[in-house]
Symmetry: C2
Subunit: 348 residues, 2 copies
């Protein structure tokens, strides 16, 4: 996990918007060849070489809707908000190059907190070899708002979309699922304990993997190069931000196919099962509907099965279907359930 500091505090009003921009600019400069002009003009200018297309994605994060400072270290938040946008680019088969960061902060937020946020972002920029090339800083009346735009490139026509699935394709997922959601449940439980008794010092060491999945997720930029090496070309790809149910439905809808996912095949870490038992939550439900794992869900031609068989990073969890366009989950007891949209309604 990332180190946290205990900083001294400077109100943002002391350095003003231009002072803040100056400090952030110096902190984030990386001299990547993709950056022709970075922070400091009306817009950034990017070098994207011939025969590529530009790929862009954006994410808006609102305090107490998407993150909670009672249990989210600000540096982790910075890392995560870059990583999850890189994840969207990875799911397109794109190579990330540049990031724009907009932040609105209320006057209770200090310069040090913003710098800590940026140092988390900076760590992610180094990890994923991207550069912050611009953004906007502004005030808010309550809470922090962060908008990230991530930009990358893809070879012309090589973007991996959601609509390329064929009715015999295998459904494959990277890594394991449900961990990020159960990490959140642990944090929410500790928040309640803390509210009731602020003196209790929780020992969360046994939940380390789950907390890391929730607080410091990584984008699977390693998967596509590995698949290329194996000679496997996914027909669809999407990152798992809202949960497996929601993402497979996107693929089925866009590709006009159905699917069968087998419960017993879904990769779930033993620590997820353990904490699910503790909390009386069904582990498969956590994997299907929990979200925020930022693993890649993809479909590949069935003829490529031998190439990925036994690969420790990839698990075949089912297959697409042609005639019946219903998306099914086949349970361990052989029951066949219809997968429903679980994309959470944030407006409730």
């Amino acid at each position: 996990m990332l180190d946290d500091k205990n900083p001294a505090f400077t109100p943002l009003s002391e350095i003003g918007e231009f002072g803040l921009i100056e400090r952030l600019k110096n902190k984030t400069k990386r001299n990547l060849p993709s950056t022709a002009i970075g922070i400091g003009d009306d817009a950034a200018v990017l070098n994207h070489s011939d025969k590529t297309q530009t790929v862009v994605t954006t994410d808006l994060l609102v305090e107490n809707v998407h993150f909670d400072f009672t249990y989210t270290p600000v540096k982790h938040l910075g890392y995560k908000c870059i990583a999850v946008n890189i994840s969207d680019l990875a799911a397109m088969g794109a190579t990330p190059t540049s990031i724009l960061v907009s932040i609105a902060a209320s006057n209770r937020v200090t310069l040090e907190a913003i710098e800590e946020l940026y140092s988390g972002m900076q760590l992610a920029c180094e990890k994923y070899n991207v550069e912050i090339v611009g953004g906007d800083t502004s005030s808010s009346l309550s809470g922090m708002v962060i908008n990230i735009t991530a930009i990358g490139t893809v070879e012309e026509g090589k973007a991996i979309l959601r609509n390329g699935g064929n009715d015999t394709d295998l459904i494959v997922v990277s890594g394991d699922l449900g961990g990020a959601y159960m990490g959140l449940q642990v944090l929410e439980r500790e928040k309640q304990v803390f509210k009731e008794n602020p003196l209790v010092q929780p020992d969360l060491s046994e939940y380390e993997y789950l907390l890391q999945r929730q607080l410091k997720p990584e984008a699977r930029v390693d998967i596509l190069p590995m698949l290329n090496d194996l000679g496997v070309h996914p027909t669809t790809m999407i990152d798992i931000s809202d949960g497996l149910s929601s993402e497979i439905l996107h693929i089925c809808k866009a590709s006009n196919v159905g699917c069968r996912i087998y419960e017993e095949k879904i990769p779930i870490d033993p620590s997820v099962f353990k904490v699910c038992e503790e909390m009386k939550i069904n582990a498969v439900t956590a994997a299907m509907n929990g979200g925020e794992d930022y693993e890649l869900l993809m479909t590949i031609p069935v003829t490529d099965f031998e190439k990925i068989k036994g690969n420790p990073h990839l698990t075949v969890i089912g297959h697409l279907t042609g005639k019946d366009l219903t998306p099914y989950l086949v349970t361990n007891t052989g029951e066949v359930l219809v997968i429903k949209a679980q994309g959470w309604n944030t407006y409730k």
Copy 2:
């Protein structure tokens, strides 16, 4: 100005995030050749032709910090937030192609309000020939937050930056200044009147130009093609979002020059003088520090003076200086004042 409707109301919770995205997607589709893949995948894919660079800018707008729904029609807000980002691209000499829109709205915001916002955005997209290619929708606990990312292209090496100014260059501004700020003052005054007596129906027709400058600014995408036709190549360019003082300081600092701006040369509309007199505000102060005019401030070689002399869209307001790096305003009475940074500190 834009027409406002009196809509029926649907809570966003009724259609959910996916329902909202589906509606917005259909509303915004334009089939521009620059859009390879628009809304609906993990990221958008853009066709940017060879020998161009990608230009990106972003802006975060927070309710009651950057806009106030008591006097901002939601459709105008939609138009404005696109126009001001196009303005940043225009100030780089770039051709805008694509827009990403992130919105967080609280549950008091209705579907109809969001659609009205998007119809204003859509109008701006048509005017500036750009397309909304992606974004994010989310909830907020209080107030609306909008983040716009605008993307465009510029011929390799042809971006107009802030650092190209030479010590004899003329300082030129498009259009006129101070109108947007005085429009805001009129709206703020009417808000106070309304608070005291909600039955008063204000007659704002005499302020129409000022209100239009504030509520529906246009990006000066017409200026660069005109300059190209005249054979004039600006050495620096910036858009006036924070006021003339702040913008000329950016140019002076980046170009390592000083300047002399002549008060009597600053283009100010008669209606600005009129309302400034009414409100006891100095019109030159409104022009220098008011901001939000979204005109272009540029410098051009002194040898190009004849080419723009008498041009109704352009006014020479002063010149850069070499030896003395201080930025000066020369008043009508011949006084020489040092121009100070007035970029408003939003954190106070």
